[in-house]
């Protein structure tokens, strides 16, 4: 008997157990840490599903950046002693919620178990198109993201910009235009500074590497950008760099450069290749890398800005 299925079952049980703990924990911060552990485990599950691209995304975003976001939020809520969270629902509601959840989970399990075999797949079409619109990309996921479903990817980057603006807009009027605070609250500590000084440049290199290989191997603009984002956050936490002011033109340009360049190239597609968001096969790879470079920049700037939160410094109303 092979060991692999045992490993899979063990991992599956562990994921569900940690998820259950995250939901059941009494203590808010314990629950947050449970979620961070859960994010790490999910990266392993993704690798087992032959999805290293997603594993990398989950490791960088689900475990890493989300972890910092939630840990920061949990600690700040503790510090604010903002305990009033509304009454717990009555038992009747809980039973109903449990029944509904069990029903949904059961139906879903049933559907997943009875998915058709052979499974329908667009992999053959993607392989065929790899010679044309996604020319020169060895990583089919990158081809899907930047070429076949370019429209989704461009709009999703606009969603990121909107989220940043939405987060800024929650701040106080008096602070508008200033810099966000939470990442630079620490007193610079020798060990932290040293760690950041070594980690950030190495991490930045790895981020660029992962973006660069993403055309042909697992990785890509989002994963590379997310790692760069994490390294910028590390540098901010150690106060090697300060958070930028949200009024800064350069910051805003960087935030929208990804979708803006994507949109511009997409519009130009009608002149170059006869259709919006089409790339002439001769330059497809060069154009795609060009767009991706700006997407990396946008992601690397947007994620830290989202974690850093609204600008602070003005008076609370």
């Amino acid at each position: 008997m092979s060991v692999l299925p045992l490993l899979d079952v063990g991992l599956a049980l562990l994921v569900v157990a940690v998820a259950t703990w995250t939901m059941a924990a009494r203590d808010l911060f314990a629950s947050v840490l449970g979620y961070v552990a859960y994010g790490l485990l999910l990266a392993l599950v993704w690798v087992r599903l032959h999805a290293p691209d997603i594993g990398l995304t989950e490791a960088a975003v689900g475990g890493g950046v989300t972890g910092v976001l939630l840990v920061t939020a949990g600690k700040r809520l503790d510090a604010l002693k903002a305990a009033t969270s509304g009454a717990a629902p009555r038992l009747r509601v809980k039973i109903l919620a449990g029944a509904l959840s069990a029903l949904v989970a059961g139906a879903l399990a049933f559907v997943v178990a009875s998915l058709p075999t052979p499974a329908p797949s667009l992999a053959p079409q993607a392989a065929a198109a790899a010679a044309g619109p996604g020319a020169g990309l060895g990583n089919p996921i990158t081809a899907v993201l930047i070429s076949y479903r370019a429209f989704d990817t461009m709009l999703e980057k606009i969603v990121l910009a909107l989220a940043v603006l939405g987060i800024w807009s929650v701040g106080a009027d008096a602070a508008w235009g200033g810099a966000p605070a939470p990442l630079r609250k620490a007193r610079p500590d020798g060990a932290m500074v040293l760690l950041a000084q070594i980690l950030a440049p190495i991490g930045a290199l790895i981020g660029v590497h992962i973006f660069w290989v993403g055309a042909d191997a697992p990785g890509g603009a989002f994963q590379g950008g997310a790692l760069l984002a994490a390294m910028w956050m590390v540098a901010m936490m150690a106060r090697l760099v300060e958070a930028p002011r949200i009024g800064s033109r350069a910051l805003r340009l960087a935030l929208i450069s990804g979708p803006a360049v994507f949109l511009a190239v997409g519009l130009a597609g009608i002149a170059m290749a006869g259709s919006f968001f089409a790339f002439p096969p001769a330059f497809a790879k060069a154009l795609i890398l060009f767009i991706e470079t700006f997407m990396v920049l946008s992601v690397a700037v947007a994620l830290p800005m989202m974690v850093a939160g609204p600008p602070e410094g003005g008076q609370e109303p």
Binding site: G10, V71, D189, M237
Partner: protein, 90 residues
């Protein structure tokens, strides 16, 4: 040989899973954090072992990403301790 690598991965996952009991028990947030960090390291080890046994391409980059962010949440947590926001609850 591959089976041995997988068995090693399984043992490590099992070990860190037991270690997760610290998240349950605490008592301090730091103890919970250490359990998460152990899980991170063990996860990387298990990931590498599985990758070498099953030959899924690109897994070493996932491991790189995880290693890069191994201390990420801990840094954020310590930041808030140092900022004096809740250091007493350690």
């Amino acid at each position: 040989m591959n089976e041995i690598l997988l068995a090693a991965a399984g043992l490590i996952v099992a070990a860190v899973a037991v270690g997760l009991a610290r998240i349950l028990r605490g008592p301090a947030d730091v103890d919970r954090l250490m359990a998460v960090q152990l899980l991170g390291t063990g996860g990387i080890a298990a990931l590498l072992l599985t990758a070498y046994a099953t030959a899924v391409p690109g897994v070493d980059d996932v491991a790189l990403g995880l290693a890069l962010l191994a201390a990420f949440a801990t840094m954020a947590f310590l930041n808030h301790l140092d900022a004096g926001e809740g250091g007493a609850e350690l």
